[in-house]
């Protein structure tokens, strides 16, 4: 059918003819891929056009045209989540990659970013001035803005928390095209603070499932950045074996092995009480195998993982800990002493690891999961560390019914990543399938979710219609917010409601 000619003409006059296209190849390339392909993008349809604005003003004008002509639009930056997939005819993909400016206030530790700024770009600039940004688990190629609005989680969260704690002020183009500014930006030029004034409308930007573009488009967001060590990290190597050499007098990795998962979690809590560490995470053993296989191919992985079936001690737990002397080298010494004490007291064994970082401070090789399972799918929860283990075990039990064809992960409950010094955690059950296994992954997801409702687990909630009736009918309230702010239902419909 296509979008009306008048709408297309309007788009051209907004961004210039080179930045809008309804070429079928452009459109086809703009709605494929992303994490959870085959699961989150069911019912997706090819968009009618793709448009690339350069400023908030252009975004506003585009959105107004979409409202006038009832054209659904989907704001995207890297499109690394299949929730970006359009599921309505005549969708306009609003690709925000041209908006790639950023500004850093080094003294007051925040950065104002547009959607096209990736973590690695920002991190590189921050490292020059002894600051750092959180880098998400999906990789530092992701958009800083989009990721902080979506989930914003990674092992660095041990110290700097989850995404909801890191947003400051922002500019937000509402689904009707009006511009809303939050926090200090509501009436100042500065972006330094995110709350209020009064009730905090950042509550509409995200929320454990969140709007995912369904309540408009944030075009500028201030994010917190944090104090780092006064040392430059040294990049080394040629792909695929690149890494940072860490300054050992300030940063050291450790591995700790415990006889049981329970003891591992006890240690996590104790480390939280001690408030030491830059990164503390419980590691699913499969990660080690994937990391060792990187650059060697899936054959190598499966060979080793198959052997592990007999040799792996499934009761054991593993912690990876990165200690950092933010204050001084002596802080590192102190924290090592404490770590040693804790590991010993909880029955574990501590070993220093190589003084390298391949994947947490820049990069993150989560994509490697797709090398061994082209349809990798996570089932995620955010709750306490203990709840994580309980839910992980429950899900692992359910997963047995789907294994095979899903890859056998030996009944392990996934990995637990604690945040805020163990005040809260992510639990992630890791599920590896191939292209044909999408239905099994979907069914596993559904079974786990039904069980969540029964046992009172708190998953990452993408299905308001499923959970709502058991959770104070929040889905109806979401419907209300959607109706208020997006009366024409054009902003990534039907988000934040359940797709399909």
């Amino acid at each position: 059918m296509g979008i009306p000619r008048e709408a297309y003409d309007a788009f051209q006059s907004i961004v210039g003819s080179e930045w809008v296209s309804d070429d079928p190849a452009i459109c086809a390339a703009d709605y494929k891929g992303g994490a959870a392909t085959g699961i989150r993008d069911k019912g997706s349809v090819r968009p009618a056009c793709s448009i690339q604005p350069k400023s908030s003003e252009e975004v506003r004008r585009i959105v107004k045209v979409c409202n006038r002509f009832s054209l659904p639009y989907v704001p995207t930056s890297t499109y690394f989540s299949a929730t970006c997939a359009p599921n309505r005819d005549n969708t306009v993909m609003m690709d925000l990659k041209r908006m790639d400016k950023f500004d850093i206030d080094y003294k007051n530790m925040y950065a104002v970013v547009e959607p096209g700024v990736s973590f690695s770009m920002l991190q590189a600039e921050l490292f020059k001035r002894d600051l750092f940004t959180f880098v998400p688990g999906c990789g530092s190629q992701a958009s800083v803005l989009a990721n902080n609005l979506h989930i914003g989680d990674a092992p660095m969260g041990w110290r700097v928390g989850l995404g909801y704690r890191r947003l400051l002020a922002c500019e937000w183009v509402l689904p009707d095209g009006e511009l809303l500014k939050l926090g200090s930006r509501s009436y100042l030029k500065d972006y330094f603070w995110g709350e209020g004034p009064g009730p905090d409308l950042r509550g509409l930007l995200r929320g454990n499932g969140g709007p995912n573009g369904g309540l408009g488009t944030v075009t500028k967001l201030a994010v917190k950045v944090f104090s780092f060590i006064p040392k430059q990290l040294e990049p080394q190597g040629i792909q695929p074996k690149t890494t940072f050499k860490l300054p050992e007098e300030r940063m050291r990795w450790y591995n700790a092995r415990f006889p049981s998962l329970e003891q591992t979690l006890d240690a996590i809590y104790e480390l939280g009480r001690c408030e030491i560490g830059f990164i503390v995470m419980h590691v699913d053993p499969i990660f080690g195998y994937i990391a060792r296989s990187r650059g060697k191919g899936a054959n190598f992985f499966w060979q080793e993982w198959d052997k592990a079936k007999e040799t792996l001690d499934r009761k054991q737990g593993w912690l990876r800990v990165l200690l950092t002397g933010f204050t001084s080298e002596k802080q590192l010494v102190y924290e090592e002493n404490v770590l040693r004490d804790v590991v010993t007291d909880y029955g574990g064994e501590l070993r220093p690891a190589r003084p390298l970082d391949e994947t947490h401070l820049q990069s993150a090789d989560a994509i490697a999961a797709n090398a061994i399972g082209r349809r990798f799918y996570s089932i995620i929860y955010f709750e306490s560390v203990d709840a994580g283990l309980a839910v992980g075990r429950a899900d692992a039990k359910i997963k047995e019914r789907y294994t095979p064809p899903l890859a056998d992960t030996y009944g392990l409950p996934g990995w637990i990543v604690p945040y805020d010094f163990a005040h809260v955690a992510k639990q992630e059950l890791l599920n590896y399938g191939d292209v044909d296994d999408v239905e099994y992954l979907s069914e596993l997801h559904n079974e786990c979710r039904k069980n969540d409702i029964k046992i009172g687990a708190y998953p990452y909630m993408e299905d308001p219609d499923l959970f709502g009736p058991f959770c104070f009918n929040y889905h109806q309230k979401l419907r209300g917010f959607k109706a208020i702010f997006d009366p024409n239902n054009v902003s990534n419909p039907p988000k934040p409601l359940t797709r399909n």
Binding site: I26, K32, A35, I238, N299, Q362, A371, Y432, V435
Partner: protein, 420 residues
């Protein structure tokens, strides 16, 4: 080799966007973080490895045709391979092979290549060189002080640009070889290696070049082919065996770039530099000598479940390229102050000279080259040195147009200055 051989790879893209960035560990500033030239300029996802892979699936599944924008994206891709090795950090996907065979499919169905590339094909078919100059002038660059012999083991394969356009490189190289008492030969029967045919999808025409040149090598009885052109290097080393269904090791010759050869001589004490060159220089890694330089491993097999390949396959991931040797040479020259660009080695930004893009989209190619020169200037270097005549050409043109205050050299020119 056909597009359908790579359907598994084309479908494997998860759209992580890593193909658009250099290795994140090596990102040193926001300005120089990106590496895919078409995506840097045109931004739409189609203009990226991810977009081209998804398009390839669409073509194979008859859901998409070669639209004007697809042709534009495909033929603006310089085949620099940055996306390929970035993807292979984590995944086992033959990204570059998908794009190459997509171009070939485009030609097969009559939608490609660009007009300028068809002219190149005609030139090669008529004159055995891409420029359309008389074949008999192929060795006119030779000077009297160059000692090339017949019946030795090493053939200096000059390439079209060195033979016809930038004689300085060929002359410098041959003088250096003479100076180091290297016995080499040149051949009047040298035909264009066919790089431009292969990289624009004109595979049938390419095969003609392959057959001829291999026959020539056999007849000459050489076992070593020395080149000064990165495009010739990769074509001989990787694409010749590929199109014959063989591995590099199966071929009866070894391909050596002059920087590899000379670095060895320096190490062995057989080459030293008597003249100072007081200059701050940076080095541009040609894609085809750097990340794409690893030998080709022919693989025929089955894609089984969960990424398993039967038989197992060796992937070219970029870490075996020629990175260290040119740097070693430059830092051995007295007076040279070497400055590294932020995007270096496997992370080098393409110069814009690849895959015939400078012929069909010269503005875009010059834009890429200008980007590269900006990066070079940011190091404080007075000169940018490379090891590929096409690279030198496009960078020089960009420098000239930008009235830039940066000189452009081929490495042979500097070596020659340092020894004679």
């Amino acid at each position: 080799m056909k597009l359908e051989d790579y359907i598994h790879d084309a479908k494997g893209c998860v759209r992580c966007s890593n193909c658009k960035f250099i290795d994140h560990i090596w990102v040193q500033s926001a300005r120089f973080a990106r590496q895919c030239p078409i995506n840097m300029k045109y931004k739409f996802n189609l203009y990226s490895a991810s977009g081209l892979l998804h398009s390839a699936v669409g073509i194979m599944e008859n859901e998409l045709e070669f639209t004007p924008r697809l042709l534009d994206a495909l033929y603006k891709c310089t085949l620099c391979g940055a996306c390929d090795i970035r993807c292979k950090r984590n995944l086992d996907l033959e990204v570059l092979s998908v794009i190459e065979t997509l171009k070939a499919r485009c030609v097969e169905v009559g939608k490609g290549p660009m007009l300028e590339h068809k002219v190149v094909k005609e030139n090669i078919e008529t004159y055995n060189n891409q420029y359309g100059f008389p074949h008999m002038n192929r060795l006119s660059w030779l000077t009297s002080d160059v000692r090339s012999v017949s019946k030795v083991d090493m053939l200096y394969f000059v390439g079209c640009t060195g033979s016809y356009i930038d004689n300085d490189i060929a002359q410098a190289a041959s003088k250096i070889l003479t100076h180091t008492n290297t016995e080499f030969m040149v051949s009047p029967d040298e035909w264009c290696c066919g790089y431009l045919l292969y990289s624009t999808g004109q595979l049938e025409a390419f095969k003609r070049q392959v057959e001829h040149n291999i026959r020539m090598v056999k007849e000459l009885g050489v076992s070593s082919i020395l080149v000064t052109c990165a495009q010739c290097y990769k074509t001989w080393k990787v694409d010749y065996p590929k199109v014959l269904g063989k591995s590099t090791d199966d071929m009866n010759f070894k391909v050596v770039h002059i920087v590899e050869y000379l670095a060895e001589l320096i190490k062995e004490g057989k080459l030293s530099f008597k003249n100072r060159i007081d200059m701050k220089v940076t080095y541009h890694d040609p894609c085809n000598l750097a990340r794409l330089a690893e030998p080709w491993f022919q693989w025929q097999g089955e894609h089984r479940r969960m990424g398993v390949l039967e038989p197992p396959k060796t992937f070219r991931r970029g870490d075996g390229g020629v990175y260290q040797q040119p740097r070693y040479i430059l830092t051995s020259i007295p007076g040279i102050e070497f400055r590294e660009m932020e995007r270096a080695r496997d992370n080098a930004l393409c110069c814009g000279g690849g895959a015939g893009v400078s012929l069909s989209f010269s503005d875009f190619a010059l834009w890429i080259a200008s980007e590269r020169l900006e990066e070079a200037k940011a190091t404080g270097a007075e000169a940018i040195v490379t090891a590929c005549p096409t690279g030198k050409r496009i960078l020089s043109e960009a420098a000239r147009q930008g009235k830039g205050n940066i000189k452009v050299y081929d490495i042979n020119e500097l070596i020659l200055k340092a020894i004679l």
